[in-house]
Symmetry: D2
Subunit: 312 residues, 4 copies
């Protein structure tokens, strides 16, 4: 059994191979597969560069991915206005084939803003939304509060909801107990877990095994391990950047990816991703301020991480 | 020597007692003194309740404070739209006597949004702006990036800028070296430090002693210690809530305040502050979701922290 | 291909199946397999209870494990004197069949004490030693210092050395760069990694793939994932406690183990392990002070974690 | 009012000025004042260099300190055997005038070892003992466990006990609730707090104000602030190194000390302290391994921290 991308997933949870768009109810959306989290290109004025965005999409179209994550952390969504966030999703939907899933980040700090943006994302063509944990008042974001927040959002969302836990950015992990409770909500499909705690991922798979709850690894660094304990796919910036052919040798790919991927995800962040994009023929360019381009030394180190592993 | 509130500050830095509004240049704005960081009251619909806001301002007017912080962390600014943030500042300015300083929070994640909001805050009547560290990409927010961000904002701001470091919320402390560098900017007045690391506060005072850089303690919990090492004032929610008379016995007040204040600042957050406001005749009410009201047990514990220390 | 315990390890690194004791040089010691980290039973006086220790060993002998870890974190070694630590190892060696590997914890805070204890452990019959990172001066334990420490120990040790990183206890992770450098030492065999960061484990396997460096998972919670990215075995308290038969269905076992195992390793610690030992016919008993027995509530919760997963 | 060292302490708790040795009961031991925490000099062989230790004591004798801390964190106690720890205390007692207080570190991981070492320290001439929190099983060291530990030790100690919380080394802060409970024990005198959280220190002073519980700042970096909120003294490596005259201008001294002191306490540790000792005519020398001497770059930076502040 192989997924669309030829990536052998020897120990993941089995599930029916039904195409998600042919189903009538949200809960049957099949998340399994690999998703590039796309970056947002900017012009020198720091305005969104829609032309380059479209050119990147053409390039992504050559990779047999399952869909796209738009406005995830790699999309610099906290630097975009609500209008820009929706507009980018609309632009992507127009270019993206209908059989590709569009997962749009719609999380905001307040519940009301998240509900509103979620509705707009659905109208703009998102197949499901990715909702990050609110995080500014992190000391107050306990299970009670987060369950209330995500329940409100899922109750009112026209499309299925994927929970999003990314502690490196939020300083907050969506508590296991909250995940288990929320997994019972009919409009909550799964979790993108970018924390990479494999024990927690395994425990979530185990505790939600009677629901149809799907876990996506938030990074290529722990993609294979996550498959191994029951995740169904991953949101992997670099995986899709440099892998355009078949994943016949998944394990070797995993090994070669882990060093450059870790350099980006644990070290250099979006500026690192955008630098690497240029090396692979995508438009990367600058981030919005305050994010700054890599220093020369950082660029050289990152280049070494790619070349040492045979990618460039 | 006593400040306006009668709080003896035996070991703080000396400075001229000039009134801040009589000066022609921004750098002469004197921040010394105590500021309530006001909460934002909401209606049951979660819309801003401007009537109750104004009633609270009338009540604050009975306390001889130096000014108000509007849209700080206690104002739930991350839950307000940019328009609401400006509107609240405008409403406060209309009620606030001209001799009271209005410090408005204008920090956003992106530099461009912060610059824009800063200009609007100045137009709405803010005397200076309080600019929090961007924090979502915290792994990338090093000194280089933050110096660039705050310099851009200060260069373009029509009013003086106060740096704001609040690691409990942002997961990020504005690095000491960045503070020292930014202290040289003519439009950067000082720092509100809510981290409470007294060694760092003393070091900042020491390293900026040749500039006219002013440090405010971000909480009543370490107000007296901060004065002791050279801070010039504080932004203290509870201090102003329950102290309406003279601070003839500052030390005893400090001791009695530290337990309820710690309960709020380290434990219960804005919902705790709003609960306490009700006990002292202010309008508190609910927060915007996802923040939830205190549980019954939390309320009782907080009430005990106040009553044990003779406040209620 | 299955290991001795019938645990399918579909994606681990391949290695020769040679028996470790038939080799003439230390570097050929094959660590692959599963090791119970034995607890130290105490009498009511808190003296070591050697009789009960031996009875536990008889019980362990019914499980086809690869060997034993003696004086790991589960053995309460920080509470034993150097003499007691050696004496326990000597006692275990006398009962343990020669074809079972004895890995003895010999780490101390100072390099000199570690060298001395390592020699005594070898004399007492240890096949290899497990050397934890010194940790009290954790702020100073950088790669330079740790490479120096482990090199000194490995240079002088009569038996091969296994590095030991257990950040939950030491507050310190042996840096990746230090591991990669130390992997080149001919007397350093491998690493027991109890941190459970699967990205790091995969990266260590990748970066040391040209050496014969072997990684052991320090807990059953991430055993299968670690196998998946190239680890060769694990040190797993509960795995051996409750699994006495074949591991025909490794994945199901992993799933059922993760909840009780996490309860012990992330929550209840040695007192939890010792409580569970009693339920499976081993002698557990009390820990040395300051460790205290589980509270009644903790005991009930732990029992539920076992019974919910069908172990008791 | 000034203490022996001329250090104005304008806002500390008042207490009787009785000399501690003239009292018949332990609870009357007055801890107020400043204590150098002495380093342990080693020979090239890494054996304790008793001759140089004595020469250092002659140099300390020129400073009017209240007493000495022997075998604190700066004494590298985790690298010494129990016998060495006692022997160093005995050697210091022989050189130290009877009117100087000797506070000896006697903390070990197990309760039984701590009780035994405490008795030996008392026999060797310690006036009181400084007992650090056990820390290896930090996840289990909750209030219940720590109260039990310190109570056992205090019950059996022939001399008064001072609690010792040093989270930078132990990864563990003695919980506030445990401190408040333990403050009621007749043989527990006070707390050396090296964490530097001034809110916590103030809260401890406030919560123990009805007992005769004395708090010592664990570092010169926050000495003045600690005095300000009610601490009675401090254990300050550098303070005594470089200040041999009167502290007529305490505040200026504090300001000038904070930078080099922070460099040592938050950065360079014991190797930094020992380097600085040489500059002031003390014997510093090497630490025991694994601690290594400063690099050349670290030495230059530290020298600059001292020279910039006018100390060398």
């Amino acid at each position: 059994f192989q997924n669309k991308f030829g990536l052998a997933a020897p120990c993941r949870r089995s599930f029916g191979g039904t195409a998600w768009r042919s189903q009538s109810t949200s809960t049957s959306l099949d998340l399994s597969g690999i998703y590039p989290p796309i970056a947002t290109p900017f012009m020198a004025s720091e305005d969104v560069d829609y032309r380059r965005l479209e050119e990147n999409l053409l390039k992504y179209a050559q990779v047999p991915f399952k869909g796209l994550v738009v406005q995830g952390s790699n999309g610099e969504y906290p630097f975009l206005s609500a209008e820009e966030r929706v507009e980018v999703v609309r632009a992507v939907r127009q270019s993206l084939p209908q059989n590709k899933l569009l997962m749009a980040g719609s999380g905001c700090e307040s519940t009301r803003a998240t509900v509103q943006l979620t509705e707009k994302m659905a109208s703009a063509g998102a197949d499901c939304v990715l909702v990050v944990t609110p995080c500014f008042y992190k000391g107050k974001m306990d299970s009670r509060v987060l369950i209330h927040h995500f329940t409100q959002v899922a109750d009112q969302s026209p499309v299925p909801v994927v929970l999003y836990s990314v502690p490196a950015n939020t300083g907050l992990e969506l508590p296991l107990e909250a995940v288990v409770t929320l997994a019972q909500h009919p409009n909550i499909l799964g979790l993108k877990d970018s924390g990479g705690d494999i024990t927690r991922i395994a425990l979530i798979v185990h505790r939600t095994s009677t629901q149809r709850f799907q876990v996506l690894a938030g990074s290529a660094s722990f993609l294979m391990a996550a498959y191994c304990v029951g995740a169904v796919g991953g949101v992997c910036a670099l995986a899709n950047l440099c892998v355009s052919g078949r994943w016949d040798e998944a394990k070797a790919l995993q090994q070669r990816l882990i060093e450059p991927n870790t350099a980006v995800t644990r070290g250099l962040g979006v500026p690192g991703l955008k630098a690497a994009m240029e090396w692979f023929g995508f438009h990367g360019g600058s981030c919005r301020s305050p994010l700054q381009p890599l220093t020369e030394a950082q660029t050289q180190q990152l280049r070494k991480d790619f070349s040492n592993n045979g990618w460039i």
